[in-house]
């Protein structure tokens, strides 16, 4: 049922694993409650119905890798009042951005053979092409944090990030500090709200929620350089930040 007073929402996916949409479905009743407050006019993964007029809110998951996706991103931007990136592929380029543009051709040759013409141009964040109004980071996003942001979005509130790093959440969870154990970790500079979920499972933090505003990247690098090789540090930073602005700071 279409209600003119409801905000028109489009949910789009470019090249990615679609895991952030799976996180959204995992919200179950909460997603249903949120979906009832908007009119989902376009969602390829969820429904066949697809309108292409104006969107009050466009959520985009994935990296615009192919020329078709880059064109479509520009079209969606023109049609949308608010454009929000969903997940690290959209916000930072994500895992696909580990490969640099100039490396792609050799892999097309090796994986597909010399006659194949690759479609992918370069895995970059949405912001490489258009203005983005807000970024919901995460690989994958945290369902609960996304629900909080959606709720603010629907209510027309100013959107913001939590004012703490992953390091803070890790300490709250009483986990042993990886840096003290001489294991690399980007927790001190990583934007929080994930609940330090990777660290709780025993994995590292690669900062998939983005680098917290005002974070002291230099200080962390000084610590990392004391026990980790340059290559190891590079691996940590390239996991999600190969194409993000942070990379330039280093």
């Amino acid at each position: 049922m279409t209600n003119d007073k409801k905000l028109k929402l489009g949910l789009f996916d470019f090249t990615d694993c679609e895991g952030c949409q799976v996180e959204l479905v995992g919200l179950k009743e909460k997603l249903l409650a949120l979906s009832e407050r908007v009119d989902i006019v376009n969602w390829r993964l969820g429904q066949a119905k697809a309108q292409w007029e104006q969107f009050d809110i466009a959520l985009i998951e994935g990296t615009p890798l192919t020329p078709g996706e880059i064109d479509l991103l520009k079209i969606i931007r023109e049609k949308s009042r608010l454009l929000v990136g969903l997940g690290t592929c959209a916000t930072l380029g994500g895992i696909p951005a580990i490969l640099d543009k100039e490396e792609r051709q050799q892999w097309y040759n090796k994986i597909y053979g010399p006659e194949y013409e690759g479609r992918g141009v370069d895995a970059l964040p949405l912001s490489a092409y258009v203005k983005i109004d807000f970024l919901i980071h995460g690989c994958p996003i945290s369902g609960n944090e996304a629900a909080r942001i959606f709720s603010d979005l629907i209510n027309g509130k100013k959107l913001n990030y939590k004012d703490y790093s992953v390091c803070f959440e890790c300490k709250l969870a009483n986990l042993p500090c990886r840096l003290l154990e001489k294991k690399p970790c980007l927790g001190p500079i990583a934007q929080g709200a994930c609940g330090a979920i990777c660290l709780k499972g025993g994995s590292a933090c690669y900062g998939c929620f983005g680098i917290k505003e005002g974070a002291n990247v230099g200080a962390l690098l000084t610590i990392l350089n004391k026990f980790a090789s340059e290559e190891e540090i590079e691996n940590y930073f390239s996991m999600f930040h190969n194409k993000s602005k942070l990379y330039d700071h280093r």
Binding site: C17, G19, C20, V25, L99, R104, G113, A123, C198
Partner: protein, 412 residues
């Protein structure tokens, strides 16, 4: 609009071309190439499961464990019994999560005459309730064992960074007991749906250890036409064709279009199903690819029972959190094969003596299913001389959804 050519309600981006004058159907896969087999080269082995799980948000556990198994084979690592049990539990939750998402939220609307999974809430509330309860259970098992409902955080080569506490397993056991009725309801619901009736000759293949219903342990590939082969030869037995207009390859088994996934496992291994599933087998027609969705619902029930059984064993036994280490002089080349929700998945990893990846090859289930999808689409066109183009398109899109393709996996 460009995007409208994409088939709705499937994982990833693909288009269906119907040449109506000649009555031919063809698939074109349009997902961007992320080039995972390039991304991983020169990175440390321990990053493989972390990175490959991000090939697919719908079956991340399958990729995670396929990489773990490949790296363990390369490093001569033999994981302990607790590790194996926990991985089998992860696979059970993976099948439940993926099948519930696909069969209920993406496919069932086709058979119920509605557009989306969200509409189930108002129009078919009992089905919706079943779906969200089962999704919740699948997610909870993953959270407890893999550390997160979507992408694993606890797994590592050789074992687990962290294993669940007995208290967590006790709680899980209680929840599984309390919600079993929903798993039974899933099989009942899908046994009663109205599927398009087609009879199409299908050849099925599945990985197997010949002792259990397929899942985590795989030793050979068996075929419904007694055309078996060894997993070590997977690259020769499953040949991938590159098409210049498609970003996914098309895989054939011994040059034949074969079907993999729930219906294939059911066809080749129904004797290994949990007894409670058997009565739903009668409703299954192994010549009708639309029944893949029924097979998925039967597997939801089977793997639900399996999860209960494994949690029971874990609660009775002493858990061993040890992470197994590499052997002396390991082969440095390994294959990790698992039956993912959509069928046989293969990861092959080669390492150098510093533990860095020098080569990785991945063959996904959907790549193997693409030629069969085209073959079945063709059969529908051939068997339905009176339908209109619009009807044919609708029916074939339904067929493609019934196969549960994961295009993001297929391209990777």
């Amino acid at each position: 609009m460009i995007i409208d050519e994409f088939i709705a309600k499937i994982e990833g981006h693909g288009a269906l071309d119907i040449d109506w004058a000649n009555k031919k159907a063809r698939l074109r896969i349009l997902e961007g190439e992320r080039l995972f087999e390039g991304i991983l080269v020169n990175r440390p082995a321990e990053e493989a499961p972390w990175i490959t799980s991000r090939i697919c948000g719908v079956c991340p556990i399958a990729h995670n464990l396929a990489s773990v198994k490949a790296a363990e084979a390369a490093l001569g690592i033999v994981p302990n019994k607790t590790t194996i049990l926990l991985r089998k539990l992860m696979m059970a939750s993976q099948i439940i999560q993926s099948h519930v998402l696909h069969a209920f939220f993406l496919a069932s609307p086709d058979y119920l005459g509605i557009d989306s999974g969200i509409e189930l809430a108002k129009k078919n509330p009992e089905i919706f309730k079943t779906a969200i309860n089962l999704k919740g259970i699948g997610d909870e098992i993953s959270l407890a064992v893999a550390g997160r409902s979507v992408l694993p955080t606890t797994t590592t080569i050789g074992g687990f960074h962290k294993i669940p506490a007995k208290k967590t397993l006790t709680e899980l056991s209680g929840k599984l007991e309390k919600n079993l009725n929903y798993a039974i309801a899933a099989a009942k619901i899908f046994a009663k749906l109205n599927y398009p009736q087609y009879n199409i000759e299908l050849e099925f293949i599945s990985q197997t250890d010949k002792k259990n219903y397929p899942g985590y342990e795989s030793e050979i590939i068996i075929s419904s036409q007694k055309d078996d082969s060894a997993i070590e030869d997977y690259k020769n037995d499953i040949q991938e064709e590159v098409r210049l207009d498609s970003t996914a390859k098309f895989g054939r088994y011994h040059e034949k279009a074969i079907m993999v996934g729930a219906l294939a496992r059911l066809a080749t291994h129904h004797d290994y199903l949990d007894p409670v599933c058997r009565k739903y087998l009668r409703a299954t027609n192994f010549n009708n690819p639309f029944h893949n969705n029924l097979a998925q619902a039967i597997e939801i029930l089977h793997f639900y029972k399996k999860a209960q059984e494994i949690v029971g064993i874990l609660l009775r036994e002493k858990l061993d959190p040890t992470v197994a280490v590499p052997s002396a002089n390991p082969p440095l080349k390994g294959i990790g094969a698992v039956e993912a929700p959509r069928g046989g998945l293969y990861h092959e990893i080669h390492l150098n003596d510093k533990g860095k990846i020098t080569f990785i090859n991945i063959i996904t289930p959907t790549v193997q299913n693409l030629p069969s999808m085209e073959k079945s689409a063709q059969a529908i066109l051939d068997q339905s001389p009176k339908i209109s183009l619009a009807e044919a398109r609708k029916l074939i899109e339904m067929l493609i959804r019934a196969y549960d393709p994961c295009i993001t996996c297929a391209v990777h």
